[in-house]
């Protein structure tokens, strides 16, 4: 039984972010399902672990953490010597550059991409009405962000520099759903450098193992 436990559906973008990081760092883990369709995440037992009622929750021995990007940083620090040692940088300046782009992902990429993934990939499945205004607004926002990425990725191979890092990894879940689960793939594929970058990061073995867990976990 693994000491590391991750609570939540593997399909969740935030859960996937943590799983990708654990796999990159070669850390064994166990996924504990949380049935959100039955409201398990809003029940007292779960809220005692995550008071905002969100997934994932992460446990490693005595420590219990939430917020996927915090969990990733913790995993990289605790298991610095394992797996991909450069994932969170091997010197302070590299680490700062990675943090800058993890923040850019959280502040600029995540809000519009999450809104689009929900509206275009999940709302139809949940039989909820799509909001065209929200879709238009967020598509415009995301296009502007990807223009900045296009320019950046003409200068460096990956976002924080020439090595794959936590910053690129952080983008995988939302980008995956947009590219494979909606008809908005052109946002990525029609920008030459973003397209190259997306190909590089989405074909990493760690991400493919996460996709395998999407199909097979419990």
């Amino acid at each position: 039984m693994a000491a590391v436990k991750v609570y939540g559906p593997t399909l969740s973008t935030a859960v996937s972010r943590v799983l990708a990081c654990l796999i990159e760092k070669d850390v064994q883990f166990e996924v504990i399902p949380v049935d959100m369709s039955k409201g398990e995440h809003k029940r007292p037992e779960f809220l005692s672990l995550q008071p905002f009622g969100q997934v994932p929750v992460f446990q490693d021995g005595n420590i219990s953490l939430f917020e996927s990007r915090a969990i990733c940083r913790y995993v990289c620090e605790k298991y610095a010597e394992r797996g991909n040692k450069g994932l969170y940088g091997t010197d302070p300046l590299a680490k700062a550059s990675i943090d800058q782009w993890v923040e850019a992902e959280g502040q600029s990429f995540n809000p519009p991409s999450s809104a689009l993934v929900f509206q275009l990939a999940f709302a139809p499945r949940m039989k909820l009405k799509q909001d065209q205004g929200v879709i238009r607004q967020n598509e415009e926002k995301l296009a502007k962000v990807l223009d900045v990425y296009e320019k950046r990725l003409s200068q460096t191979r990956f976002l924080a520099g020439d090595d794959f890092s936590l910053a690129d990894l952080s983008h995988l879940p939302n980008a995956h759903y947009l590219v494979t689960g909606t008809d908005r793939a052109p946002l990525f594929t029609q920008r030459d450098n973003v397209s190259r970058w997306w190909n590089d990061i989405s074909t990493r073995q760690s991400w493919n193992e996460v996709l395998h867990l999407h199909k097979t976990a419990y």
């Binding site: 917020e67 913790y74 300046l93 550059s97 943090d99 800058q100």
Partner: protein, 215 residues
Amino acid sequence: MVVKVYGPAYGCPKRVLVCLIEKQIEFETVDVDLIKGEHKEPDFLKLQPFGVVPVIQDGDYTLYESRAIIRYYAEKYREQGTELLGKTIEERGVVEQWLEVEAHNFQPPIYNLVMNVLFAPIQGVPSDTKAVQESDEKIAKVLDIYEERLSKAKYLAGDFFSLADLSHLPFGHYLVNQTGRGNLVRERKHVSAWWDNISNRPSWKKVVHEYKYIV
């Protein structure tokens, strides 16, 4: 060579300033006029391609995103000033957790409130009353969770002040002092005590006194 911080009149740059003061790091500031659109001009976009503040320059080195900047300096200057990252890897994990909570759950609804209640009138654009109401509701829910947390610990990450608490200062200040929503904090005993505690730190008082909020 002294750290240069761009945009001191605004919220997010103040997150950097208070951190630098806590860590006893010398800095100078460079004004950026957001209302005149200076942040969208080519010279600024060369420094910060998303066209937002802050950005810092430290010699040849440029860094943006306030929470990346504070992490960098808190770690680089670990040996001086206030310890802001906890003492162990586990404590740091909890600091990171509440820093992320601030970024995703605390600042966004307050930012929406500030844009609609404070900036819209200046810019002559209509305020979105639905957005204001949604923001008020969100903030109340988030502060209920903080109330519970702060009934069990003096600070967000435990019994020590950290980057997690510090990160709340700029937009907490807007909420309590400028948007007329002070009651959201004052009605919650532990949140209120925590707010008084962190906002009365000499570092924050210095920031508020020397770098006036633009509204």
